[in-house]
């Protein structure tokens, strides 16, 4: 049951994805008059008011889940900045039965444009069954089919995220991003002796879990395309080297060791089989590709400049990276096989850490100009540059699975300075802190 429903969901997301990818830059749906809808490209977007009453507990032991599920759904939607949750105190109607007709007038009266109802039951063998429906209150219609998710009670938050993803997707016409995780570096200790550990959490900061101890500095973890592995840089040998870690078993191995060299800035290719990274020999840092199966290594750049931070286009045919071959850090695009590269950044200042968006239409980057740091986006040909943030030190963007939100590291100045993960919508709205004492986020794809 669950598998079929999930398949159905991911199919919806896939269709939305390909439509968007074919039109660059991405254009969201055009809303039709009288239908519940958020037009994503509207620059003056007003958060859409919705009601998510506590889900109906349909079995013994489901009461707490019923309340918590509705709360997480509401937090997901509101947290996107596109929706506004109406307080339960304002509700006129109560939902007491999942299958009873909706009293639309009561929800119109409090201006709830969308209504999310749900039911939850717990089975004897520790399974949880979550059902939900979405209603367009003002047109008095149910939006789409009801969906049902089945999973273990331990994974109840994921059920809530799946419900929220379906709601988000139906109203915006784009894929969701709530059922996803972030791998990052957890930080403790003073600035000159900081302890760093790999950690993973749900996209919203819940369910945090460490993947390494704090014995060695670890940097910049990157999820594999299906989220099963993480590439990262560790000093456990005393020198920076790339490791690949299996998320389920937490087992790790060094990627490939060539004595006397240092390696960092790894990233998976979309095929999950190739890895691009920087290798430093002597004073020179170039970009290489390694095939994980064969161990075959290919050099992709060969200038005396610093070439680092490579990131594949989602179709795997191109790589965006940074190089100081012109004298300062700038962004370049080359074919995945290496060779001639085209510079795409031409604004004032320096550009680094480019990351290709999952839709293929944009590159996110760190910009450094006049002593300030920015997270920004530009089209893949370098046009349409927009800066989304500004601070003492913002760096290292990572894309949400649907390409709508960027998470990054913000570090504060001075001896007491610390790092915090922030997220921001690609419109520049909805900047917010996600996780304190953390750096170098990498956002997973939507979980399967």
């Amino acid at each position: 049951m669950m598998k079929q429903l999930l398949k159905c969901l991911s199919l919806v997301a896939a269709i939305g994805f390909s439509t968007l990818a074919s039109t660059a830059p991405a254009t969201a749906q055009d809303c039709q008059e009288g239908v519940l809808c958020i037009e994503m490209n509207n620059p003056n977007i007003e958060p859409l008011p919705f009601a998510a009453p506590a889900f109906i507990a349909e079995s013994a032991g489901a009461d707490q889940y019923a309340r918590d599920l509705a709360a997480v759904v509401a937090a997901d939607l509101q947290g996107s900045g596109l929706f506004r949750a109406i307080s339960q105190d304002a509700f006129i109607s109560q939902i007491t039965n999942f299958d009873s007709p909706v009293q639309y007038a009561d929800w119109k009266a409090i201006n709830a444009q969308a209504l999310v109802t749900g039911a939850v039951s717990v089975t004897g063998d520790g399974q949880i069954i979550v059902k939900f429906r979405l209603f367009d209150v003002f047109s008095e219609n149910q939006m789409g089919e009801g969906l049902q998710f089945v999973g273990s009670t331990k994974g109840w938050r994921r059920m809530a995220h799946k419900v929220a993803d379906a709601v988000y997707s139906r109203i915006t016409g784009e894929g969701g991003y709530f059922d996803s995780r972030t791998v990052f570096v957890s930080e403790t200790g003073p600035k000159n002796a900081r302890l760093k550990r790999l950690a993973v959490m749900d996209y919203d900061g819940a369910n945090q879990q460490f993947l390494t101890d704090a014995q060695a500095i670890v940097l910049a973890p990157r999820f594999s395309p299906n989220g099963d592995r993480v590439l990262y840089t560790s000093y456990e040998s005393g020198f920076p080297k790339i490791y690949v870690l299996d998320v389920a078993s937490v087992g790790r191995r060094v990627l490939q060791d060539q004595p006397g060299t240092m390696s960092f800035a790894p990233r998976f290719a979309p095929n999950g089989q190739d890895v691009v990274f920087s290798l430093t020999t002597g004073s020179n840092t170039d970009i290489y590709k390694l095939n994980l199966a064969s161990g075959q290594r290919t050099q992709l750049t060969s200038s005396p400049a610093i070439e680092t931070a490579p990131s594949y286009s989602p179709d795997g045919t191109q790589i965006v990276f940074e190089s100081d071959r012109s004298g300062t850090q700038q962004l370049y695009v080359m074919n995945a096989g290496g060779g001639e590269a085209t510079r795409i950044s031409f604004g004032q200042g320096r550009y680094g850490t480019p990351v290709w968006s999952p839709r293929g239409d944009l590159v996110a980057f760190t910009k450094q100009n006049r002593g300030r740091f920015h997270i920004g986006v530009m089209r893949v040909d370098g046009s349409g540059e927009r800066l989304l943030t500004a601070s003492f030190l913002d760096e290292g963007p990572t894309w949400s699975p649907n390409g709508r939100v960027i998470m990054f590291t913000r570090e504060t100045a001075g001896s007491g300075g610390s790092s915090t993960l922030y997220s921001v919508d690609i419109s520049g709205r909805n900047l917010k802190a996600v996780q304190a004492n953390a750096s170098d986020p990498s956002w997973s794809p939507l979980l399967k």
Binding site: G189, P190, K191, N192, A193, R194, L195, T212, D213, A214, Q215, A216, I217, L219, A220, Y235, E236, S237, G238, F239, P240, V250, G251, R252, G260, M262, F264, A265, S278, T280, G282, S283, T285, I306, T308, A309, E322, D324, T328, Q329, G352, T353, T366, Q368, G371, F392, L393, E395, G396, E411, A413, G414, S415, G417, D440
Partner: protein, 172 residues
Amino acid sequence: MKTFTKVVFLTTSLALAACAKSPFDRSGDAAGAGANGLDNGGVSTSALSPNSPAYFNQTIGDKVLFNVDQSTINDTARATLTQQANWLNTNTTYNAIIEGHADEQGTREYNLALGARRAAAARDFLVANGVADNRLRTVTFGKERPLEVCSTEACYAKNRRAVTVISAGVGS
């Protein structure tokens, strides 16, 4: 990693836990300005033997500084590195790891590559002055291990450094 216990982590001091293991054994009294030798405690400043790592660290100076985004060896650095080379040429039982560091005003990956350039520049100078290539290794710490923690140029200037960390060599 599975056998790692919280007890070990909690009872290890921050300074110790910050030490990365090196394939080179570090000499006990060689604590200098490197990422793994922040504390110089316990080293007597009187009557240092010219052949001791402490003399290298304190009298000659174990670190050289760089301009913003540069890895060029300036005149001050040249003088220090010349003495470092002389010391290493005299005390051939020691090896060295040269650490390259950057200030915090840069992105993480770029600073790793920049630190590597600085370490290599110092290494190349030592080699040009007679130190055998196979006694030296380089490592970059990027902006991960600042010596000074303020966010002004006064601190940044001290953090843009290459540190020659003396280690026990094969013959010692």
